[in-house]
C-alpha cells in the first residue's frame, strides 16, 4: 500500500496516527495518576486534563505522517498546540492562585508555579510519546508488510511509546524531600512563651490557651539537610511553605481563619541549616506526619546546587 489515491493517506498512516494517539493518551493517563495527591481536583480536573492529553497526543501523532505527505502546514499546528499548553500553565497557575484565598495553609507562589510547570511538561511528554509511537509504526511498516506481519508495526510503536512513558516517568519523577534530607521527630517545647522544636526557635505564642493546645496536640519535625545543596533548598521560603502546606493538607490542622497562631511554620536553624516544622495536626500521629514531610516534592525553583560550583565547594568545608 502506498499513499492512497486522491491524496488520501494510506493504511500505514492511519495505523501510525491511531497508535500515536492511543499511546499519547495512555501517557497522560499514567501521569495523571501520579499527581493525584499533588493537585486533587477530580473528576472534572481529571477530565479536562485527559481531554487536553488527547489533543496533545493527536498533535504528536500526526507530525511524521504530515511531513511524509508533505503537509507542512499540518506541522505548524504543533506550534499552536505548544502555545496552547503555555496557556494551560497560566490557567493552572491562576486557578491555584485563586484557591489560595480559601486555603487555611497556603501553598505559596513557588509551589503553585511548580505544579503549573509540571502540568505543562506532562503535556509535552504526551506529545513526544505520541510522536515516537507513530514514527516507529511508520518506520516498521514496510518491513512488517514485506513479511506479511503488518500488526508488527503498530506493536513496535506501542513498545516504543511505552518505553518513552517509562523513561519519562522516571526522568520527570520528582525528587522528594525525604531523599535529600533526614527527617525525624523533634521535641516540641516552650521556653516561657517561645515555641521550640529541639534547638530551633519557631515563634512566639502569647495566649496561654494556645500554648496549652500546642503542648497537648502539637508535633515537631526536624528536617536535616544531607548536604549543602539540600541546605540551600531548605532555606528557600517557597520550599518551606510547601512543607507546611503538604503536612497540613495530609494530616489536617487544628486551625481556623481567625486563629493564626495555629498556622504550621517551618523555621531554620541558622548555624546548622536544619529546619523544623511545628504543627497542631488534627490527627496527631507521628508516623504519617513524617511520611507526609518525606513525600513533599523538592520545588524546582528552590533546587540550587552550590556544590556544583567551585566557590560553593570551597565554601562547603
Amino acid at each position: 500500500m502506498g499513499v492512497g489515491g486522491a491524496g488520501l493517506p494510506g493504511t500505514e498512516f492511519w495505523a501510525a496516527i491511531l497508535t500515536g494517539v492511543g499511546l499519547g493518551t495512555l501517557a497522560r493517563l499514567a501521569m495523571l495518576r501520579t499527581d493525584y495527591r499533588q493537585y486533587p481536583s477530580y473528576p472534572h480536573g481529571y477530565a479536562s486534563h485527559l481531554a487536553l492529553g488527547v489533543v496533545a497526543a493527536f498533535a504528536g501523532a500526526v507530525v511524521i505522517p504530515a511531513l511524509m505527505l508533505r503537509e507542512i502546514t499540518a506541522v505548524t499546528f504543533l506550534l499552536l498546540v505548544a502555545q496552547q499548553f503555555r496557556e494551560v500553565r497560566d490557567l493552572e497557575r491562576k486557578t491555584l492562585e485563586q484557591m489560595e484565598e480559601t486555603e487555611l495553609v497556603r501553598r505559596g507562589a513557588a509551589y503553585i508555579e511548580d505544579i503549573a510547570k509540571v502540568f505543562e511538561a506532562r503535556n509535552y511528554l504526551t506529545i513526544f510519546t505520541a510522536l515516537t509511537a507513530s514514527a516507529v509504526t511508520l518506520a516498521l511498516w514496510s518491513w512488517a508488510e514485506l513479511r506479511g506481519l503488518v500488526w508488527m508495526a503498530p506493536a513496535g510503536g506501542v513498545l516504543a511509546g511505552t518505553a518513552v512513558i517509562l523513561a519519562g516517568r522516571r526522568g520527570l519523577d520528582r525528587v522528594t524531600l525525604g531523599s535529600v534530607c533526614r527527617i525525624r521527630l523533634g521535641d516540641l517545647h516552650f521556653e516561657d512563651t517561645l515555641l521550640w522544636v529541639d534547638d530551633i526557635n519557631i515563634e512566639e505564642i502569647g495566649l496561654v490557651k494556645a500554648r496549652e493546645d500546642y503542648r497537648r496536640h502539637g508535633l515537631g519535625v526536624v528536617i536535616e539537610p544531607k548536604d549543602d545543596d539540600a541546605r540551600a533548598t531548605l532555606a528557600n521560603l517557597g520550599q518551606r511553605q510547601a512543607i507546611a502546606h503538604d503536612a497540613a493538607a495530609i494530616l489536617g490542622v487544628r486551625k481556623d481563619r481567625d486563629s493564626p497562631e495555629y498556622t504550621p511554620l517551618v523555621r531554620l536553624h541558622l548555624d546548622t541549616g536544619r529546619a523544623a516544622l511545628a504543627i497542631c495536626p488534627i490527627e496527631p500521629d507521628a508516623g504519617p506526619l513524617l511520611a507526609a514531610v518525606r513525600a513533599v516534592p523538592v520545588i524546582e525553583g528552590a533546587r540550587t546546587r552550590p556544590l556544583a560550583t567551585r566557590p560553593g565547594r570551597r565554601a562547603a568545608d
Binding site: L207, V208, L237, R257, P260, E261
Partner: protein
C-alpha cells in the same frame, strides 16, 4: 511577602506603651488581659504575642 502590622495592644502597664498607630487596651489583671487578647485575636484574625513585660501585641501576619 508578608506585611507585619500591630493591630492592637493589650497591656497591664500602660506606662510602658507609648505612641500611636494601634489602639491600646488597658486591662487590670492577667485574666482580663488574656480574655481581651483572645477576643481581639479572634475578631481581628491576628496573632497574640507576649512581650513578657506585661504587654500583649496583636499582629497580623
Amino acid at each position: 511577602m508578608p506585611e507585619e502590622k500591630i493591630l492592637a495592644i493589650v497591656t497591664l502597664k500602660p506606662d510602658k506603651v507609648q505612641g500611636g498607630g494601634a489602639p491600646v487596651f488597658v486591662t487590670s489583671g492577667d485574666e482580663e488581659r488574656e480574655k481581651v487578647a483572645t477576643y481581639l485575636s479572634r475578631i481581628l484574625a491576628a496573632q497574640v504575642h507576649d512581650l513578657e513585660n506585661g504587654t500583649y501585641i496583636l499582629v497580623s501576619h
